[in-house]
């Protein structure tokens, strides 16, 4: 079969099982778009901005576990995509970004819409390729998908000069069945000796703690984690990225840890004698001040990326491997031995944890006059039976969504944890809804974040995605305002949101349904009404309490045991 470069790309995407591509056309990809036009197997989703293409592909990937695919043009197309690529990189999301490049003979000449895409994206991709010939195009695509989706996943960019996609210039096409890359071999099996050592420590614990992260979600190891934790009866906490991997409703679950984690999770981290870290990377938002991190604990760390091990915190028993395989191996060994942690020690430990939990750190002051943002998330949980796909933007609303929407399933909580990208939520929700047209998808956002990619309301109209947008509108960049209140003597420097649009009218102008909710008594009814509109996008503008802060909080330079609790809770 003789194919042009554009056709090679389409056939390769088909071979990879790609059902949709998120993109935006331009000069350098015109040949590719022409090939796209003449085929039916790959669907194209036309976004309104390339950043949104990457976030939508990212949301699609996080919800499905399959690589998200993006198609953008050279120059500004590529640079607009960078924020989304970096977002996917920080959260290890499998993604393949295809960018057009100027013709190979013009590279380096400052040609129209030329940027060094491979150079610009290098620090925020798992790997990238500048295609050097039409002959190597198919094998490069094969390698890109392989690298993006194996090991610790991540985004891979393929930059294709325009002359390699010219219609009429063809090569014999055959898509490689296998990939052989001598310089890339992702680890799979954990070392049996290390696993034995880890199990021994785990079963000798007096005050054990399991700390699991996004790696469990990415590694599709949720079942294995549940089996492992339940067989031990140990307490578990999850990172922001790991929510849902272990059911929020289970009694062993202490909730999220870290900067805005629960008091009991953070105290248990501080006091534990054995910490079992699974698919987590000891991020600074999780550890607090590293010098006072888990001061009494022996640490077991399971991760697929050797570079994650002992990067921020030195660990005692590292296990490099696929999380699901290692968890299975550990569970097998545990069931094969009689040895168990002393039940009396464990009972004492649980009593201590229950004591910390009895303070109900997530309680907040209710109000009949102002809408409390936390109450909106709680109502959202009730109305959606806790079973929706929730995307979020970045800031206070993100933390409230993480804290008050109890996720029982993995891949349901989709947010930019590592990079913290405002503007992520709406396009990510678009990607999720397109992947799962019959599921409930909601985007919890704020009036600042939503405006960073609000143009995607147009894309949502075009593809009929019935997303529900929960806008917690406090007329502030809430998290910035909160830090200014705590650390800058309430000098609210440029954290206000003035000249806001009328969100209802704005939404309606895009052809969607807009709702404005000011009264706390109307919250739940409005949500029910919105979710009853099954085939419509509804933008719900909740006017919330401007002064509400996210609690509990570990401030900069503090340890897990030095949390700042909600003052309203202390009064109660």
């Amino acid at each position: 079969m003789e194919l042009s470069g554009g056709e090679v790309l389409m056939e390769a995407l088909k071979e990879e099982g790609v059902e949709m591509v998120f993109g935006y056309p331009g000069g350098a990809v015109l040949h590719i778009y022409d090939a796209l036009y003449q085929q039916n197997s790959v669907k194209h989703i036309l976004v309104r901005h390339e950043q949104a293409a990457t976030h939508a592909a990212d949301g699609y990937a996080r919800a499905t576990g399959k690589p998200g695919v993006v198609l953008v043009t050279s120059g500004p197309g590529a640079t607009n995509a960078v924020t989304g690529i970096a977002t996917a990189f920080m959260d290890s999301v499998p993604m393949v970004v295809i960018s057009g490049q100027v013709q190979s003979r013009f590279i380096g000449s400052d040609a129209f819409q030329e940027v060094d895409c491979v150079g610009i994206t290098r620090p925020c991709v798992k790997h990238n390729f500048l295609v050097d010939s039409l002959e190597n195009l198919a094998s490069t695509i094969k390698q890109a998908f392989y690298v993006a989706s194996t090991g610790r996943p991540g985004p891979v960019v393929i930059d294709i000069p325009k002359d390699f996609t010219t219609p009429g210039i063809t090569v014999p096409f055959s898509y490689p069945k296998e990939v052989e890359m001598r310089s890339y071999s992702p680890p799979t099996q954990g070392h049996p000796g290390q696993i034995r050592k880890a199990v021994d420590i785990i079963l000798s614990a007096k005050r054990p703690m399991v700390y699991s992260g996004g790696g469990v979600v990415l590694g599709n190891a949720s079942e294995q984690l549940r089996t492992f934790v339940k067989s031990l009866g140990y307490p578990i906490t999850q990172t922001l990225m790991g929510l849902g991997a272990y059911p929020a409703s289970d009694k062993l679950n202490l909730g999220m840890l870290g900067m805005h984690g629960t008091y009991e999770a953070n105290m248990a981290m501080h006091e534990c004698d054995v910490l079992i870290a699974i698919g987590a990377r000891f991020d600074d938002r999780v550890t607090g001040e590293v010098d006072s991190f888990c001061p009494h604990a022996k640490i077991v760390h399971v991760d697929i990326d050797p570079a994650s091990i002992s990067k921020n915190v030195a660990v005692d028993v590292p296990i490099v491997g696929n999380v699901s395989q290692v968890l299975e191996a550990m569970s097998e060994q545990i069931s094969a031995t009689e040895k168990r942690a002393d039940p009396a020690d464990l009972a004492d430990w649980w009593a201590q944890i229950k004591g910390w939990a009895s303070g109900n750190c997530m309680d907040y002051e209710a109000s009949t006059t102002e809408i409390k943002p936390q109450s909106v998330v709680e109502a959202l949980w009730r109305v959606t039976n806790g079973d929706a796909y929730i995307t979020s933007d970045v800031g206070q609303h993100q933390m409230w969504a993480a804290q008050y929407y109890g996720f029982d399933k993995p891949n349901r909580w989709i947010n930019s944890g590592g990079l913290g990208t405002m503007g992520f939520g709406l396009p990510a929700a678009l990607g999720v809804q397109l992947a799962f047209p019959d599921e409930i998808v909601a985007c919890v956002t704020g009036e600042a974040s939503i405006q960073m990619c609000i143009q995607e309301l147009s894309t949502c109209m075009q593809y009929g995605t019935p997303i529900k947008i929960i806008n917690l509108n406090n007329r502030y960049m809430g998290m910035v305002r909160q830090w200014q209140e705590f650390s800058y003597e309430k000098r609210y420097s440029h954290s206000y949101m003035d000249a806001l649009p009328d969100f209802v009218k704005l939404t309606e102008s895009y052809g969607h349904v807009g709702m404005h909710i000011e009264n706390p008594a109307d919250v739940e009814g409005a949500l029910k009404e919105a979710f009853a509109l099954k085939d419509r996008l509804v933008f719900m503008n909740f006017v919330t309490d401007q002064t509400e802060n996210v609690y509990p909080m570990i401030e900069a330079g503090k340890g897990h045991h030095e949390m700042r609790l909600n003052p309203a809770r202390e009064l109660a």
Partner: protein, 163 residues
């Protein structure tokens, strides 16, 4: 501590900048970096001299291994190895000084490559310590220009760094 790391790198465009970019992005030190083709045309060999605590060196090695362009890597400082670097140094050489510089060059087993009425260009080969010793012996006042190649290294014995 100072470490000499040898890397076999895929010989492809951009591979060098992946390594250089890693060091600048993560704030690691580079004392020197050399790169040249090997007997295998698909591979380049790079030698990086860096320094840091044990934890930092461990991270550097892990991060380098993580780069898709890195085929194989060895921390030479962990084994018995030979380090060599070439230095070309231009010095002022007048009056009695000419004889003294010649003598020093012989002691350091260097060679004089270029001679004028007032200057020499000298070639010296050795490890970092030897080259610095030679510079010190010449004295800063006499030195007109220094060009160092950066270190390269290889392990002793039969065991080799191969893909």
């Amino acid at each position: 501590m100072r470490h000499v790391i040898s890397i076999l790198l895929e010989n492809e465009s951009g591979a060098l900048s992946r390594v250089a970019g890693l060091f600048s992005a993560r704030g690691y030190n580079i004392e020197s970096l050399t790169v040249a083709p090997t007997d295998d045309s698909t591979l380049s060999r790079m030698t990086i001299v860096t320094s840091g605590t044990d934890a930092v060196i461990e991270q550097i090695i892990k991060q380098l291994n993580k780069l898709v362009s890195v085929a194989k890597l060895s921390d030479l400082s962990e084994i018995d190895f030979i380090e060599r670097e070439i230095m070309l140094i231009k010095v002022r050489a007048v009056d009695q000084g000419r004889e003294e510089v010649k003598r020093l060059t012989d002691i350091f087993r260097g060679r004089i490559l270029d001679v004028t009425d007032s200057s020499y260009v000298i070639e010296v080969t050795g490890d970092d310590y030897k080259l610095r010793a030679f510079v010190d012996a010449l004295g800063a006042d006499n030195i007109l220009e220094v060009a160092r190649s950066g270190a390269t290294g290889i392990g002793r014995g039969e065991k080799s760094l191969k893909v």
